[in-house]
Symmetry: C2
Subunit: 115 residues, 2 copies
DNA sequence: TTGCATACCTCGAAGTTCTAGGTATTATAC
DNA sequence: GTATAATACCTAGAACTTCGAGGTATGCAA
């Protein structure tokens, strides 16, 4: 792994996948490209990252899969389950809290009371 | 580790430590508490996280150490080196880019052109 | 003198991401 | 017709972090 890159990626793939599946069904290969496009090339997850995440999410019951032939080719479409939706909410809150806290340190100086 | 917790912590300790050392010298135990306080208890890094990070940063030349006796007790004060300062800049930019990109996906829908 | 805060440290476990590689089908280019 | 690229799925091993628990030692307060 890039020894100079902390990359800040822990948990990000799971968060992004869950978020993308909120609303519409998607298949793995499509998700890989959607992440690249919707982040403006900033996040570029390989298939070797996305597929294992999908498998883990399915195993945990956060998403369900459905194999469907499309144009002679077989795709596995994933849908967000209720459990996955609440997981998404949980992760989004954690993400927001954490990035806010880090931001607080980064801007520094401004040390107002917290309520 | 908490199997249900992605925690989003990858790289965050390094970033916070470097940022705190920008401006004034600090010692490990002090850094542990400063992180807890300045993040409003959101980030609570144990000494088992901070000390190894400090050692790695020193080894890479990002910070320098100086043992100093204070009140009969020995403390190791760390200072940010020029190399550490540029590392901090680099990490801050990466952090900003990444959180921005994730935010873009989280808010979704709003798909304006990027320049 | 007992306990707590200070102040440093290491180790093993656990979990993630990453790159690289592998398979197979369809569409495109030559 | 055939080679190449794009689609679409997958696994394995390596590497990196963070985390918690535990260990040592000093100073101060009860």
């Amino acid at each position: 792994m890039a020894s100079t890159n902390p990359s800040f990626m822990n948990g990000v793939p799971e968060l992004l996948v869950l978020r993308l599946l909120r609303g519409r069904q998607m298949y793995g290969y499509e998700i890989v490209q959607a992440i690249r496009e919707e982040t403006g090339e900033v996040v570029n997850l390989g298939e070797g990252v996305v597929y294992p995440v999908l498998h883990a999410l399915e195993k945990s019951g956060a998403i369900t899969s459905e194999r469907r032939p499309v144009g002679g080719r077989s795709r596995i479409y994933y849908s967000l389950s209720p459990k996955g939706a609440s997981r998404l909410t949980e992760l989004t809150e954690l993400w927001t809290r954490l990035t806010g806290a880090v931001q607080q340190v980064l801007v520094g100086g401004a040390r107002a009371g917290l309520v």
